[in-house]
């Protein structure tokens, strides 16, 4: 059943990516702007522009450009970025790990804090913990991540000087030996504690800011789910049987309350990626979000399309993971 589900979803993924590529390709070509001018420079002559257009295939008819693009993309060749002048696949390899590290840290933080906070909030309903949790939920959803990032940086770097302003690693610290390209993980794996500590310190503030919005959603979802199941008969039965409070909450109630939360957590990964666009700008984080913003500003067709496709693919894959997880969490679910 799982294999069928996976195969079916991967089959649909092809259509999703095809549709997305067609859409981004068409839209990016509709936007006024000449990438050749961006490459050759504003003061270049028509002859110089022609050379660039020829080199980058910009003179070909649009359908030819699209087919060439898709054919190359199947080999993970996304062409050359007109903004950075490097192969886009190289750029993705360079920038994606930074975003992955940031997103992963934010995901872990939001889940590790959000789930217990939601549980506590539900179990101790209408107490100060609940009020704090609800404040976090509402503020996390209401505050724009861009504003939150600037404020956090101003307070924790500018005023208190507890944490660095951003960057993955300062210039004075050499990056660790590349294993996963995630500096904190590589620092751990190579037992390079200086790098691990410095990278973690640099990661903390942007990850906290990025996590805040997701944390709010997760806390709210868990709280809502818990409140619903705590009134169910089976929970009352468990309590009547004399089970410990901890066991009732975590083994019986939370497990069932987590079902909708898992969906939400899966979707949060997509939202974390989009939130990273703004967080990366504020914290000078060299990730895919910043790369995408720069690609948009510079009409870098290949950069725009590749980042869109990669983010879409990650989003779809995360949904697939959530669907598979559902099968294990709830045996009643059947995707047939």
């Amino acid at each position: 059943m799982i294999l069928r589900l996976i195969v079916r979803r991967l089959f649909f993924l092809i259509f999703v990516l095809f549709g997305l590529s067609l859409m981004t390709f068409s839209l990016s070509r509709l936007v006024a702007g000449d990438p050749a001018r961006m490459i050759a420079g504003p003061r270049s002559s028509q002859a110089q522009l022609e050379v660039v257009r020829e080199r980058y295939g910009l003179n070909d008819p649009l359908p030819v450009q699209y087919v060439t693009y898709v054919t190359d993309a199947l080999r993970f060749d996304f062409g050359e970025s007109t903004a950075t002048r490097r192969p886009v696949s190289e750029d993705l390899k360079r920038y994606l790990p930074a975003t992955a590290e940031l997103g992963l840290a934010a995901f872990v933080l939001s889940t590790l804090v959000g789930v217990p906070l939601g549980v506590l909030s539900a179990v101790r309903r209408d107490t100060w913990i609940d009020h704090i949790s609800r404040f976090i939920s509402i503020s996390g959803l209401a505050l724009p991540v861009f504003w939150l990032a600037i404020m956090a940086q101003f307070i924790f770097f500018g005023k208190l000087q507890w944490l660095p302003d951003g960057e993955r690693l300062p210039q004075s610290v050499d990056p660790p030996t590349t294993i996963t390209s995630l500096y904190t993980v590589d620092g751990l794996l190579t037992a390079n504690w200086e790098v691990f500590g410095t990278a973690a310190k640099h990661l903390l503030l942007p990850a906290l800011v990025l996590a805040y919005g997701s944390l709010a959603v997760i806390t709210r979802m868990v709280r809502g789910g818990m409140l619903e199941v705590l009134n169910q008969d089976y929970v009352r039965t468990a309590r009547a049987k004399g089970l410990e409070h901890r066991v009732v909450i975590f083994r019986h109630a939370l497990k069932n309350a987590m079902l909708p939360t898992v969906t939400s957590i899966g979707l949060q990964i997509g939202l974390l990626l989009s939130g990273a666009f703004l967080v990366e700008l504020v914290f000078s984080w060299p990730g895919i979000g910043r790369y995408a913003v720069s690609a948009i500003e510079k009409i870098d067709y290949n950069g725009i399309m590749a980042t869109t496709l990669v983010i879409a693919a990650i989003f779809v894959m995360m949904n697939l993971v959530v669907d598979v997880l559902y099968l294990f969490l709830d045996p009643r679910i059947n995707y047939r």
Binding site: M1, R37, R94, D165, I179, L189, L281, S284, R290, F328
Partner: protein, 571 residues
């Protein structure tokens, strides 16, 4: 051979019989295995040769002034000095490469030695001879002699990038460059060229690049090794600093070239770090907190105003050769009277005081730092009554709507546009303002879209010449040849007398005649037949930590620093 455990795992998974304990156990194993798999993938050979970050990281020896940290809002995409046309890239080039000569201090008509220790022109200025530093070497240790200079300029010409126009105006054939001896090179220009030295000191293009490095990295398809030079600089320059690290999106690091022919006093910085910080608020925090030492023209005017009283900072303001203006769409604005009317409707003092917080001064199309500037140039004063008369005289009526675009994210320009909108509203007209990305704006300006389809006004535009020459300021913006992609004459403005002036200015030899011609040209561009609304010369600023010394600006090197002259004061 089939692994039974693996087979049972897949069988269980596929049949849906796997319980949570299995999922956790296998998930844990997968989690542990992932770094290993990734490591193997990361260490696998590259499928295709791809540009790598430059050089290995070097640690500072801390004998000099340590590290100078400069912050910049934008990254650099092109490291080939014979291709790049960007003042941001010149920030690196002026530290790592050398021209033959450079502008002296803050002067725009005097020169200092760089690779050439001395130079002289023949009496009519048709030939110039440069004597090179005999001990000059490239960063790879090879000598930088006259032949290397000739080979480098030959590449600069033949690579054919737009930036080569700086030299092509004077030298079109490599044979015009004559190697006299190992340390002497002569440029035979064929006719008097009073601006040749000015062009040779430009920050756009005339850098000397090591021909041996080009030779070593060229390919059949790329005979000038541009593909290599886009991302690399090892051994290529002769400047006092070596580009030792380039992490795209993060920073560039320059370290001292100990073999520099000019030598070091010991006080210079050992290392210069150019950190890329895209967000304005972060840049301000970094310089205020002392995490960065220097920043140039990269904050909002409000931020600069707010930092004036910070005793930890030096805020140096100065004029450059840049002028900001708003392009008017000539076909849609019907007549020169209408365009003059809009010039009179513009809120000049409000824009300078409100939008730019005083960091701008009125000017015409030519800044006061460029030869030929007319101190008595006509500067329209805001007069809404007269402006309305002139606009109505062109057939427009009250209630008419005009379109205005400017670059997204340009805060002062947003305020300025709103101030202009308010003035027009007071006169009974509507100004519709739209923001576009920089790339789109450039396409509107340089593309071949008919003027009738373009907005009435294109804001956020500015120009500065490549070197001290008014022709270089005017030709790409206001001539007929600069229309439809030939330059940035996006308003399709043509004035026959102005065309005649440009033809004469292109080949002038008499400075007094040039001044006369430019006086007339400036009057045409401002009073007789204005193609633009000139906001003024933005006042540039460099913010330095209080212990940084030796800095000076040059109006033609807009975003650069004299790294070699700078140091940190001993406390």
């Amino acid at each position: 051979m089939t692994n039974p455990r693996r087979a049972s795992f897949f069988a269980a998974a596929l049949s849906g019989r796997m319980d949570r304990r299995h999922v956790l156990a296998h998930g844990l194993k997968l989690g542990l295995a992932t770094p290993v798999i990734t490591a193997l993938m990361a260490n696998a050979p590259e499928a295709a040769a791809a540009p790598a970050p430059i050089g290995a990281r070097r640690s500072s020896n801390q004998e000099g002034s340590g590290t100078l940290t400069v912050i910049s809002g934008i990254d650099v995409a092109e490291l080939d000095p014979h291709y790049s046309y960007s003042s941001r890239a010149s920030l690196i080039f002026l530290g790592t490469y050398e021209m033959l000569i450079q502008y002296k201090g803050s002067a725009t008509d005097q020169y200092d030695p760089m690779l050439a220790l001395s130079w002289e022109g023949n009496p009519d200025g048709s030939s110039y001879t440069f004597s090179l530093a005999p001990n000059a070497t490239f960063h790879d240790g090879s000598p930088c002699d006259a032949q290397a200079v000739k080979d480098s300029f030959t590449r600069y010409l033949l690579l054919g990038a737009a930036v080569a126009d700086v030299l092509k105006r004077f030298v079109t054939d490599p044979e015009q460059m004559v190697v006299v001896d190992a340390t002497t090179i002569r440029f035979d220009l064929g006719r008097p060229q009073p601006l040749f030295l000015a062009a040779m000191a430009s920050e756009y293009g005339p850098f000397v690049v090591n021909p041996r490095v080009i030779e070593a990295n060229k390919t059949e398809e790329d005979p000038y090794a541009h593909e290599w030079m886009k991302f690399n600089a090892e051994g290529a320059g002769t400047g006092p600093y070596i580009l030792s690290e380039n992490l795209p999106g993060e920073r560039q690091v320059l370290t001292r070239f100990e073999g520099y022919h000019g030598g070091f006093t010991g006080a210079e910085f050992d290392e210069v770090v150019i950190r890329i910080v895209p967000e304005n608020a972060t840049r301000r925090l970094l310089i205020e907190q002392g995490e960065a030492d220097a920043l140039t023209f990269d904050l909002t005017p409000d931020d600069v105003a707010a930092m004036q009283d910070n005793s930890d900072l030096q805020i140096l303001t100065y004029d450059t050769t840049r002028v900001n203006w708003i392009i008017m769409n000539v076909p849609r604005l019907v007549s020169k009277e209408v365009r003059l009317g809009f010039s009179l409707a513009y809120p000049y003092s409000e824009t300078i005081d409100g939008a730019y917080k005083g960091l701008m001064k009125r000017s015409g199309p030519l800044p006061d730092t460029v030869r030929g500037y007319d101190p008595a140039v006509y500067l329209p004063q805001t007069d809404l009554v007269r402006a309305k008369e002139l606009i109505l005289s062109g057939g427009f009526a009250e209630g008419d709507t005009f379109e205005y675009i400017f670059t997204a994210g340009d805060e002062p320009e947003r305020t300025a546009a709103q101030l202009f909108q308010a003035n027009l509203a007071e006169m009974g007209f509507t100004l519709e303002i739209a923001e576009v990305e920089g790339g789109q704006q450039e396409e509107l300006i340089y593309g071949d879209m008919p003027a009738e389809e373009q907005p009435h006004f294109i804001g956020s535009w500015a120009w500065w010449p490549d070197y001290n020459d008014p022709y270089n300021q005017f030709y790409p913006n206001f001539t007929e040849a600069a229309q439809d992609g030939g330059g940035s004459n996006a308003g399709d403005w043509v004035n026959p007398r102005f065309e005649e002036i440009m033809v004469e200015a292109a080949t002038y030899t008499d400075e007094a005649r040039l001044v006369e011609l430019m006086k007339e040209a400036q009057n045409i561009l401002t009073e007789q037949d204005p193609p633009c609304i000139y906001q003024g010369q933005p006042t540039y600023y460099t913010i330095l930590r209080s212990d940084i010394q030796g800095y000076f600006n040059n109006p033609l090197y807009l975003s650069s620093y004299p790294f070699y002259k700078m140091s940190r004061a001993v406390s």
